[in-house]
């Protein structure tokens, strides 16, 4: 079939223009904003004041931003280890001939089809509520009064309750990715290993894990993107005022770009710098993951 370049251009041009206007323009504008100060996010460029790298320098000196970064890092690391461990565990169990596989898969994935807001409320009011919540009731029934009085929604516990709830909801999604990766692996390897006398654990460590390198790369990238954009859960845990225990860089960015309750000052330039830093974090992790999980010669 003869290629008609004019027609190709005609058909792709509208989508290209839409992409440039709707995606590239905000990215470029945000990058530029991060080197300026302005009163509000939509102020015209003529009113912007150039400050060079001052927004970035100030951010690194802002203790609440560093707290937000620390929270994000802990969610990424601790939550990541937990989520990936359980996702992989469930995926392996489900691919090992467990009965009613579809049912269990659906159950584990279920939290992902419930809105984050509803799901967070469920955790806050039915699980962590310090007077009527499930954990309180269990401890109270067991007569463990001190534990029953634990306040999961104040102080340091607030971070951990947030992390547990968020991670719980994330397991199903990553389990599905692992499942598809494991199901793709050729059965011949396992059969050969079984004949050679390898048990299930040995098969997992010597066949499944090495062959899932590519899947790990995908999962780490997706996990990083979801943690860097951590916003809704933080807002649900601290709906009126953001707090040190639950603040993340994106919440901090939202606060300083749009202002929050109580007439807090707005700093859209600094907010843009947060956005750029977060993009760099994702790129950095992506780069490191690519280095760590280099494509090798394994083909199957």
């Amino acid at each position: 079939m003869k290629k008609n370049k004019t027609m190709i251009i005609c058909f792709t041009l509208p989508a290209t223009i839409v992409f440039l206007v709707m995606f590239l323009y905000p990215v470029i504008r945000t990058a530029m904003m991060s080197f300026f100060t302005m009163a509000s996010v939509s102020d015209s460029m003529s009113t912007w004041e150039f400050v060079g790298l001052a927004n970035y320098a100030e951010l690194l000196k802002t203790s609440i931003f560093m707290t937000a970064m620390k929270n994000m890092l802990m969610i990424w690391l601790i939550g990541g280890i937990g989520v990936i461990f359980f996702a992989l565990l469930f995926a392996v169990i489900l691919t090992n001939g467990v009965r009613a596989k579809s049912f269990w898969r659906a159950i584990i994935y279920l939290p992902n089809i419930i809105s984050a807001v509803a799901f967070a409320n469920m955790w806050i009011y039915y699980i962590f509520q310090k007077r009527f919540g499930m954990i309180h009731n269990i401890f109270a029934t067991l007569g463990l009064d001190k534990l029953a009085r634990t306040d999961y929604m104040n102080g340091d516990m607030k971070f951990w309750s947030l992390l547990i709830a968020f991670s719980f909801g994330s397991v199903g999604y990553f389990m599905l990715i692992f499942l598809s990766g494991i199901e793709r692996l050729p059965q011949d390897y396992y059969e050969a290993a079984t004949i050679d006398g390898a048990n299930k654990l040995q098969q997992f460590f010597h066949i499944t894990l090495p062959l899932l390198k590519g899947v790990f790369k995908t999962i780490l990238t997706f996990w990083t993107v979801s943690v860097v954009g951590f916003f809704v859960w933080s807002q649900m845990w601290s709906p009126v005022n953001s707090e040190s225990q639950t603040i993340t860089p994106v919440v901090y960015m939202y606060n300083i770009v749009f202002g929050n309750t109580g007439m807090s000052e707005r700093m859209p330039g600094k907010g843009a710098a947060v956005g750029i830093l977060m993009a760099l974090v994702v790129l950095l992790i992506f780069f490191l993951v690519n280095r760590l999980f280099r494509e090798d010669d394994l083909e199957f």
Binding site: S63, N260, T261
Partner: protein
């Protein structure tokens, strides 16, 4: 082939008819004047219902339709960008301070229109003064649904605990004495309760009573926590409410669980704004017999009970609007007269119009004090103004309330956090 031709002709006909019909409708619509109002309410809220009623009445009286877009609280994040992008909006509403301070550049000075309608005399002086102060003597906002802040108590539980009107405190010592009497009275009721998001009101009020609003802002902005002895004294006193067992054992509670204890008959007093009676009815379904007293005065303090956190919602009229007068007239109908009263009744709020002297029963107790408020405090006395510092203040206030930090550690932590 012929069928196709007939089909094409028919389709063209349908298109032409549709186009003409649509043009007709648009022409008709163009004839009708319309105001566009971006609202801070959601359509299901009681405030929205009253505003919709006022809009319908306004349309009936003037023939001008009010196109209300219910944006909810997110209006604060959207309005500036929308106006910068040229969105045709005639008026919007939000917190009245934010309307003036953050969006004032988009607004028209209403002084002349207000003078023509003799409107200023309908605005509560404390709100008018604030609005003009923020607007550099211009009137940029039309306040409605005002609030005040103080201690709300369940009168029935107050009596059940063995207290009388004589026990209603005016000073800090009297408040502590009342708490002690309740605790030792054997009723099993908690003297006070609070929610974690509002611990800042407790400490804020106490600190402002000692040093006044301006000094509080100095302390925050210049990090003078360790240099002002009253900061520590206030911390000690607020912590004592928790350590002495005068607060509910669940305080500071999550969300609105603390204030709900009043509706559930477990706690007697809560320091909150005047929207709390309405919130408690909504949450617990209990009609409480409410009493009110201002946060008490402290010994040797700069401010007494004449200082309070007062504020309101407010309408701003967009300077680019071609229907400024119409927008003003519509907003006026909500801020004054019949609909102001309806608003007050529907959500148990303070009437904005000074001519509307009948306050809803639930908040009636605050009326005599509100009239004497001469010193206006910012919300949480400004603890939330510094975007880089507010979470740190909040964190240590919770630590103070939960006794994870001593008052000394609290002051040290706040002083160190900004350095």
């Amino acid at each position: 082939m012929k069928k196709k031709q007939i089909m094409s002709v028919l389709l063209c006909g349908v298109m032409a008819v549709t186009t003409f019909a649509a043009t007709g409708v648009s022409a008709q619509a163009a004839d009708k004047k319309e105001l566009t109002y971006w609202s801070m309410w959601n359509s299901t809220e009681n405030q929205a219902k009253v505003i919709q009623e006022a809009a319908d009445a306004y349309e009936e009286a003037t023939g001008i339709h009010v196109n209300i877009e219910w944006k909810g609280r997110d209006v604060k994040t959207m309005i500036g960008a929308a106006l910068d992008a040229g969105e045709a909006i005639d008026l919007f509403d939000d917190d009245f301070q934010r309307v003036v301070e953050q969006d004032g550049k988009y607004l028209v000075d209403l002084t002349e229109m207000a003078a023509a309608a003799d409107y200023e005399k309908h605005i509560m002086p404390v709100l008018l003064d604030q609005a003009k102060k923020w607007g550099d003597d211009k009137l940029l906002v039309m306040p409605y649904q005002p609030y005040t802040t103080g201690v709300w108590y369940n009168k029935d539980l107050w009596e059940e605990a063995g207290l009388t009107d004589e026990d209603v405190p005016e000073t800090w010592d009297e408040l502590v004495a009342a708490c002690k009497k309740i605790k030792e009275g054997g009723s099993g009721l908690n003297p006070m309760t609070c929610d974690s998001d509002f611990v800042n009101l407790l400490y804020g009020f106490q600190l402002a009573r000692y040093v006044g609003q301006d000094k509080v802002m100095d302390i925050i902005n210049n990090c003078e926590w360790a240099d002002v002895p009253e900061a520590k004294k206030a911390a000690e006193e607020i912590q004592s409410l928790f350590s002495e067992g005068y607060m509910s054992e669940y305080a500071p509670a999550n969300g609105t669980d603390g204030q709900s204890e009043i509706g559930y008959g477990e706690s007697i007093m809560v320091l909150q704004a005047s929207w709390v009676p309405n919130e408690i009815i909504q949450t617990t379904g209990t009609e409480v017999n409410w009493g009110f007293f201002p946060w008490p005065a402290v010994e040797g303090g700069t401010d007494g009970i004449e200082g309070s956190m007062v504020g309101s919602q407010g309408f701003g009229i967009v300077a680019k609007s071609e229907m400024q007068q119409e927008a003003f007239d519509f907003a006026l109908s909500v801020c004054t007269g019949e609909y102001d009263l309806k608003m007050a009744e529907s959500v148990n709020s303070i009437p904005a119009d000074t001519d509307n002297t009948q306050w809803p029963a639930a908040i009636l107790g605050a009326e005599p004090f509100f009239k004497n408020v001469t010193k206006s405090y910012m919300w949480a006395v400004g603890f939330q103004t510094n975007a880089d510092y507010k979470e740190i203040i909040q964190e240590h206030l919770i630590n103070l309330a939960t006794q994870k930090e001593t008052p000394d550690e609290f002051i040290e932590a706040l002083a160190a956090a900004k350095k």
